[in-house]
């Protein structure tokens, strides 16, 4: 598929998502993830950072796309929108990591050598901020975003209404993104 066709498909998936089609939305995010991962790895490598951080950047970018998806204008091209957000979050991540003490690169060599590791298994930065959320949001985010549970499961486990679970999930995701600034 040509890049422009691919972007047209993403744009139409995004329009469907904004119109409320959750399946289209999940499909879109799933398609974007490997592309964002590749871009994050390249960006981190160019900055001389370990690409073990790539999955953090991917997750932060997905969160940003999610919370800012209303800024996508339906008639506008999808590519510039996506790449501007991806670059913005990468720069953010580099800026934050620049302030930290970086581990010597040798520590990562083993991880890097192991090419067939499952990238989505990496514990991400997002996790470190989970504990800082208010309990109500944290419990819901843990069940749904960490363990992959459903709204119903979370509602049953936490004896909450489904509506309250949805609100807590939304607020939890928004506060996670805020902590990552």
């Amino acid at each position: 598929m040509r890049a422009s066709d691919r972007e047209k498909e993403w744009a139409s998936l995004m329009r469907a998502s904004i119109a409320g089609d959750a399946a289209a939305y999940q499909n879109l995010l799933t398609q974007l993830t490997p592309v964002l991962r590749k871009a994050a790895r390249r960006g981190l490598a160019q900055a001389g950072m370990a690409d073990t951080d790539a999955e953090d950047v991917v997750q932060e970018t997905l969160l940003a796309i999610h919370l800012k998806r209303q800024s996508f204008e339906p008639e506008a091209p999808f590519g510039p929108w996506l790449w501007t957000i991806a670059r913005h979050k990468l720069v953010d991540a580099l800026r934050r990591r620049g302030r930290r003490i970086n581990l010597p690169i040798d520590d990562f060599v083993e991880v890097l050598a192991n090419e067939d590791f499952e990238p989505s298994m990496i514990v991400a930065d997002v996790d470190r901020h989970l504990d800082g959320l208010p309990a109500g949001q944290r419990n819901v985010v843990k069940i749904i975003a960490v363990d992959g549970g459903s709204i119903d499961e979370a509602a049953t486990k936490l004896t909450m209404t489904k509506g309250a679970v949805r609100v807590a999930l939304h607020r939890g995701l928004a506060s996670l993104a805020a902590k990552l600034r």
Binding site: Y25, T30, L63, H66, L67, Q70, S71, A76, I85, R181
Partner: protein
């Protein structure tokens, strides 16, 4: 957290959407302009015989110039809230009011004797102008910044500055209907300074408040 699970969570959260910037701006504009107008009518008020005076080119020019600046900076601020949007063209359009102001200065210099220049420049109300424009711009600036928080400005300082420019232009347009100083010398100096103050405040506020 597995990325797949995060995607699953984001898809489950797809029903709650924040409203687009344009709509928030339209809603926020009502109280913002109401506050600005309230301040205007309680502290400043219309210049006497304004309607009759609109035939005087200096007066209609200064009001039109402020309105033009507001009309041109509005679309720019909306684009700055959209990642990947083209901002060059709307940004270049801002040179139109600057050029018009420059032309009006030259026209004033050509028609007014040099001995009067200093008096025209200082005017009668410079300090009041410098206070009034930011005061009238404050509520509009708050409204625009609230709207921008619903957008995704990747250059928060710049977006805040243009929000300040827009609000400053609104404040200046209101002030222009009160202000007795009409010379382009006065406008170019004190109005510009007033709007610049609001722009700087907007830039600082944007840099702090508009990150995401």
């Amino acid at each position: 957290m597995k990325t797949d699970h995060l995607i699953h969570a984001l898809a489950l959260d797809s029903q709650i959407q924040s409203p687009p910037v344009k709509r928030v701006l339209a809603v926020a504009a009502v109280p913002a302009l109401a506050i600005a107008l309230g301040l205007y009518f309680s502290l400043l008020g219309l210049r006497p015989h304004l309607i009759a005076l609109l035939g005087e080119p200096r007066i209609s020019f200064k009001i039109a110039l402020c309105l033009l600046l507001a009309v041109l900076s509005g679309p720019l601020v909306l684009r700055l809230a959209r990642p990947g949007a083209e901002v060059r063209r709307p940004a270049l359009l801002l040179f139109i009011p600057v050029a018009l102001l420059a032309v009006s200065i030259m026209a004033e210099a050509a028609t007014v004797p040099e001995v009067l220049w200093g008096q025209r420049l200082i005017g009668s109300n410079a300090a009041f102008c410098l206070k009034s424009i930011p005061l009238l711009a404050l509520a509009p600036l708050a409204g625009v910044l609230i709207a921008l928080r619903h957008g995704a400005p990747t250059r928060p300082g710049l977006a805040g500055a243009v929000a300040g420019l827009l609000s400053g232009a609104i404040g200046a347009a209101l002030y222009a209907t009160h202000c007795p100083d009409d010379s382009p010398f006065f406008v170019a100096t004190w109005y510009t300074l007033g709007v610049a103050i609001v722009t700087a405040v907007g830039a600082i506020a944007g840099w702090r408040l508009l990150r995401w």
